[in-house]
């Protein structure tokens, strides 16, 4: 089975940023990682490769040159091939634009299975995967927590729904699945594979992105959210905050 995993590089979730004129300003040097659910998608791809002899796993990322780091990690985890589609990610590209660039690159390669995270850790839109499936004409299921080859061909997948309900599907190949985090923790890269990945040449491509031109939605700007509750921030040292919280909870008869 030829498997493609789409991996997004994101900022570290605790990176402190500021907002200036509706744009995010990040500290330098930035701390980056592979988006959490994409890592679970990669793990699912690698597990299928382990189970199905003759399979190969590709990793692709759309981002600036620094996004190469997530591809090297993917190679270290066991991916066979990696490709970087060069494009600036700040301000972020609209999902339809990302899906179109990925589709154009992936189409001639005719993958049997495409895996993405259910949503990126930062933007949380959940749209690139299903849009990519549509552009490539693939069957699609989202929020998948289990994938297994079906005896009759194709895959059996388990989707997770609201309140923890499950939906089981038999899905034909070629297909695209968006993967939700699960108990199957992404593997660590092996040292030998990491060393090899460090030296590997990663093919990079420069898709025509035309960022901004003809986008179906335009980003007007970012703002801090308002607080929906009192949001009393406790002051002082740790002990003083503990005293204050104790008093507040006693006062409200919650303790």
């Amino acid at each position: 089975m030829r498997i493609l995993t789409c991996l997004k590089q994101v900022r570290h979730p605790e990176s402190l940023f500021s907002l200036e004129e509706g744009r995010a300003l990040w500290p330098e040097p930035g701390l980056f990682k592979m988006s959490a659910c994409d890592e679970f998608a990669l793990e699912e791809g690698l597990s299928l490769k382990d189970a199905l002899a003759g399979s190969e796993v590709w990793a692709v990322s759309l981002g600036p040159a620094r996004a190469e780091a997530v591809l090297r990690r993917a190679l270290g985890m066991g991916a066979d091939q990696a490709a970087l589609l060069l494009g600036e990610d700040e301000p972020p590209l609209r999902p339809a634009r990302v899906a179109a660039a990925l589709a154009e690159w992936a189409r001639p390669k005719a993958f049997d299975l495409v895996l993405t995270g259910v949503m990126s850790e930062d933007a949380m839109q959940g749209t690139v995967g299903p849009m990519l499936a549509e552009l490539l004409g693939l069957a699609c299921a989202t929020s998948v927590v289990e994938i297994a080859p079906a005896p009759e061909g194709g895959l059996r997948v388990l989707r997770e729904m609201e309140g923890g309900r499950r939906q089981a599907l038999k899905i034909n190949l070629p297909a695209l699945l968006t993967v939700q985090s699960s108990a199957r923790a992404p593997r660590y890269p092996t040292l030998s594979a990491l060393l090899k990945a460090k030296k590997a040449t990663i093919a990079s491509h420069a898709p025509e992105l035309n960022a901004g031109a003809g986008d179906r939605e335009r980003l007007l700007g970012l703002a801090w959210p308002g607080r929906t509750r009192a949001g009393l921030t406790l002051e002082g040292d740790t002990a003083a905050k503990a005293d204050r919280l104790y008093a507040i909870l006693r006062e409200r008869a919650l303790l």
Partner: protein, 340 residues
């Protein structure tokens, strides 16, 4: 919206009802509310589409409650929710109606079919919409981004619009005045599908103690190590009627069972007191606890999204804070962790 476009769709704003195990889910009425706000600038009637075999008996009640006309869409073989079937049935229908907009709930169901449909229709697509505003004929949609820490304002520049709407963001629509809304039924052709539903296994059993708890103390990824979970457990033990819960990452790591998960794909709780320890406050989590009576958040990241809905914010590492709090409660500082 751009005025230069030649043939803007002139049909309805279509709200696709969210279906849960008990029929049309309450969030569907919130979608109607959002559609009304959209219609203020976009025009067009609002039409609620209810799909599937169980749709008919649900539709009349939905029409009465939502106060808008309902179209029941049935198709051979179409039973319960299946994203691919929803997409394949809705795509030609929306095109035939000339829909100006299509709205779905921002849930695992809505997100399963709407983005692909948007790509097919060339629609402007925004997911997780929390607010919308019209100014000078221009529409602004607001959603949460950047790890839940910031809001982004977006302007659609294509038509139709395809939106998923965050549950809880809009009030539930009430019945409109005037005559009883109509319910029509149409039968669509059976779509050719690449997937089929199988018998689903049972999800994790629900923790009844969690649903009943007066106090919920929840651990997030900020707990860092499984050993630190004992601190959270000891904190919970200070409150009577307290239950221990976790965010999704903590359950994925196996530190707590999935029956203890609070959030979109776990339990929804509304205790008198909710203490979030090391929880970042992603929407997927807060959807399961935002109705709590009093919310205390402990997190070392001062910008953590959880602080935006907390009554009390404690910017501290929980590993330092919880022992200090326990000491204040009169617990000896160096106490052995309780045997489990």
């Amino acid at each position: 919206m751009s005025g230069s476009r030649q043939a803007l769709p002139a049909g309805p704003i279509v709200v696709v009802a969210e279906q849960g195990p008990e029929g049309v889910a309450p969030v569907s009425l919130e979608l109607v509310s959002c559609a009304r706000a959209l219609a203020a600038g976009l025009g067009g009637e609002i039409r609620l589409a209810v799909l599937g075999e169980k749709a008919r008996p649900l539709a009349e009640e939905a029409a009465r409650r939502a106060g808008c006309p309902v179209t029941v869409v049935r198709a051979p073989g179409l039973r319960e929710f299946q994203g691919e079937a929803w997409r394949e049935i809705l795509a030609p229908l929306l095109a035939a109606w000339g829909a100006r907009a299509v709205l779905a709930a921002h849930t695992t169901s809505g997100l399963d079919w709407l983005p692909g449909l948007a790509a097919r229709l060339g629609a402007a697509c925004v997911t997780g919409v929390e607010a919308l505003a019209w100014a000078g004929g221009a529409l602004t949609l607001t959603r949460t981004t950047l790890f839940g820490k910031a809001l982004e304002a977006l302007r659609p520049e294509a038509s139709p619009l395809a939106l998923t709407v965050q549950p809880g963001a809009f009030p539930a629509a009430g019945p409109a005045e005037g005559p009883e809304p109509t319910v029509e039924q149409i039968t669509a052709e059976a779509p050719a599908l690449c997937s089929r539903l199988l018998e689903a296994p049972e999800g994790p059993a629900r923790d009844q103690a969690l649903a009943r708890a007066r106090v919920v103390v929840a651990a997030g990824r900020g707990v860092g190590r499984p050993e630190n979970l004992d601190l959270v457990r000891r904190l919970a033990a200070r409150f009577s009627g307290a239950a221990l819960a976790g965010s999704r990452p903590v359950c994925d790591l196996g530190w707590l069972g999935y029956q203890s998960q609070v959030g979109q794909t776990g339990a929804a709780v509304a205790p008198r007191l909710y203490i979030a320890c090391g929880i970042s406050g992603a929407r997927q989590h807060t959807m399961g606890m935002q109705g709590s009576g009093f919310i205390v958040a402990v997190n070392s990241d001062p910008r953590a999204a959880i602080f935006n809905l907390a009554d009390v914010c404690v910017v501290e590492d929980l590993v330092a804070f919880i022992p200090a709090f326990l000491a204040r409660c009169g617990e000896p500082e160096a106490m052995d962790p309780p045997a489990s």
